[in-house]
């Protein structure tokens, strides 16, 4: 077991996968400048800087992936993916199907998002659900260093395009990572805490928020399952349904905005497949329908906080919404 930060876990996963498979390469804006260790070990052909042109970076990844390489690209911040939508959604996501299965696109897209840096809406936008909605793509958004390492390894080994979103607030957060951690299969959620009274489903920084809320709720005699989705597509539907079957109450918490967020998908899933288990309505605590602000107090207010989670659960258990 080693203690390492999320950033270190990402670096370790990249290095290990590049050692394991010579067809893995990484490129993007500033990749060679910042990842000196990788550059030193693997050389300038496999670790490259690119021009500031997210579209061609993504297109190059898709074209290379279809013809024998396994590229990892760093597009830095999620909003910049808007420049690369055609390449990711229309090419990488669709051309396997459109070609009748002739090609596959084993590529990984890295990008950061989330409150914590105070730089505002064009660097912080949790757009993961756009890619969950698009065919042919997979999406992961881990919350712990161990999960970042294991899921990034899995993403690189996956023969499909995988978007790996990194919550910027978690970059320097540390955690235990098993020495020889292997790839964690996509599509498996992680139950971080068990309880009987409510299911808290979340991912990225708000997993910690839910755990903090669960601590406070435990003091009032309410116990919670805290399910860290970590993989948004494929989604671990069984884990969600198993937990709700046990607790009968669900609160989904995510930083991404409410409308058509992953929480909407989880809520619909549960309404459809666990209706008879529910003792209370499904609640979602999410970001607002607004661009992310730069000002610190507003940025913090954007993200659901532990108080709000506690209050929501209490309303389900004792309050107006209780059965």
């Amino acid at each position: 077991m080693t203690q390492m930060t999320v950033n270190d876990a990402i670096s370790a996963a990249l290095a290990e996968e590049m050692r394991r498979d010579p067809s893995v390469l990484i490129f993007g804006e500033g990749v060679a400048t910042k990842r000196r260790d990788l550059l030193g070990e693997f050389g300038p052909a496999r670790v490259r800087n690119t021009p500031l042109a997210e579209g061609i970076v993504a297109g190059t990844a898709a074209g290379a992936a279809a013809t024998g390489l396994r590229p990892v690209i760093d597009l830095l911040f999620a909003p910049f993916l808007c420049y690369a939508m055609d390449e990711i959604v229309n090419s990488a996501g669709k051309l396997r199907y459109v070609s009748g299965g002739q090609f596959k696109f084993p590529m990984v897209v890295l990008a950061m998002t989330g409150a914590g840096w105070g730089v505002g809406a064009q660097h912080n936008h949790n757009i993961e659900s756009w890619f969950v909605h698009s065919p042919g793509l997979k999406v992961v958004m881990p919350s712990t260093p161990a999960d970042f390492k294991g899921l990034l390894k899995a993403a690189i080994r996956d023969d499909n395009p995988v978007l790996v979103f990194a919550d910027i607030a978690l970059g320097y957060s540390a955690g235990e990572v098993p020495e020889d951690i292997d790839a964690i299969p996509l599509g498996q959620a992680a139950l971080r805490r068990t309880g009987d009274d409510v299911t808290l489903v979340s991912y990225a920084k708000t997993v910690g928020t839910c755990l903090a809320a669960a601590d406070r709720l435990a003091e009032t005699g309410i116990s919670a399952d805290v399910l860290d989705l970590r993989s948004l597509k494929p989604l671990d539907e069984d884990a969600i349904l198993r937990s709700v079957a046990k607790t009968g109450r669900l609160v989904v918490v995510h930083e991404a905005s409410r409308l058509c967020g992953v929480g909407a998908e989880v809520a619909a899933l549960v309404a459809e497949k666990a209706f008879t288990s529910l003792r209370a309505p499904v609640l979602r605590l999410t970001g607002p329908d607004a661009p992310a602000p730069a000002s610190f107090p507003l940025e913090q207010a954007f993200v659901p906080q532990a108080d709000a989670v506690v209050a929501a659960v209490q309303s389900l258990v004792h309050g107006a919404l209780a059965a």
């Binding site: 690119t50 297109g59 898709a62 290379a64 279809a66 055609d86 090419s91 051309l95």
Partner: protein, 316 residues
């Protein structure tokens, strides 16, 4: 050693023409959706593709039938694809707009204008890193040269020294807009120098001139490992897609380019040079007609994809 015997060039162009006319007919009878023909552009396709070896890879776009057929695609499997049948190159999943055929080295096709330009640098990077012998040919039109991706692609190909032959088939039309409305320059080749890329412009309606220019370009790329931009000046004789009454096209311009129909021009030249007599021409026409009849029959008989195909091959 690549070669393009003139009579061979004519037969290939005639096959492409016959195929495209079959598509127009099929569309007219409600049997094919959304087709974009490249009638008038046959010489460019035949000339460039003849300069390639089997190791070379091709990326193309929605106006791709000529590229595929010149490369040896079976017109029956093409028609089947256009009609959404399972015997098509993409199992009917593509239709006409983004046909790729891995076995022919036509690796990626995107109908998003500029889409193939964004993918070409990736295919070039694979070639460059895996040390394969072939180069990468990326076909696109003058319309795509207005997309940002065109510039991003050329820039990156130059900076990373990727073995890409960019072939701009400047057919003067960008969907329903003439290129004179969308660009100040007379052509596209002038952009290349800004990226440090060599370029050439050729009469896109003369397949032998295109073959010669493409051969020189390919040789330069193989020798230097650097990209090259070849602009073939040609004309789109039919509309953007079927149906299209071309009411927005200047009749004088259309008449001028109809006089320069590449199939007619080559045929007249071969007859004048004594390389094609009436009997040989008739044999060629018959051969093309027979091939297209067989193609149409194959496509007609090919079944539609099974319902399970709806969600197959989304993920690897």
């Amino acid at each position: 050693m690549t070669a393009l015997p003139p009579v061979e060039a004519l037969e290939r162009m005639m096959l492409i023409r016959a195929y495209e006319e079959t598509l127009v007919d099929l569309h007219g009878r409600g049997r094919a959706a959304g087709t974009c023909t490249a009638i008038g552009q046959e010489a460019s396709a035949v000339g460039v593709v003849a300069a390639l070896t089997p190791d070379d890879l091709i990326l193309t776009n929605h106006r791709s039938a000529g590229h595929l057929l010149a490369r040896g695609a079976d017109p029956g499997r093409m028609l089947a694809e256009v009609q959404g049948k399972s015997g098509g190159y993409c199992g009917g999943k593509s239709g006409s707009l983004h046909i790729s055929a891995k076995e022919l080295g036509v690796v990626l096709t995107s109908t998003i204008v500029g889409g193939e330009l964004a993918l070409a640098t990736g295919v070039g990077l694979s070639r460059s890193m895996q040390g394969g012998p072939g180069i990468v040919v990326c076909f696109f039109g003058d319309g795509a040269a207005c997309e940002g991706r065109f510039h991003e692609s050329l820039n990156l190909a130059a900076v990373w020294s990727l073995p890409i032959l960019y072939v701009c088939e400047n057919n003067q039309w960008q969907a329903f807009v003439h290129r004179k409305e969308t660009m100040t320059a007379d052509g596209v080749a002038g952009h290349a120098a800004a990226y440090g890329i060599d370029s050439a412009v050729v009469d896109g309606n003369d397949p032998l001139a295109v073959f010669e220019a493409a051969t020189a370009a390919v040789a330069a790329i193989r020798r230097t490992g650097k990209p090259f931009l070849l602009e073939a000046m040609t004309y789109r004789l039919r509309g953007h897609f079927e149906p299209d009454d071309q009411s927005y096209v200047d009749p004088g311009e259309l008449a001028h380019w109809r006089e320069r129909d590449p199939v007619i021009l080559l045929r007249r030249r071969l007859e004048r040079d004594g390389l094609l007599d009436a009997a040989a021409a008739a044999r060629m026409e018959e051969s093309v007609r027979t091939r297209m009849e067989a193609a149409a029959a194959f496509a007609e008989a090919s079944p539609y994809p099974a319902p399970e195909e709806l969600t197959r091959d989304v993920y690897a």
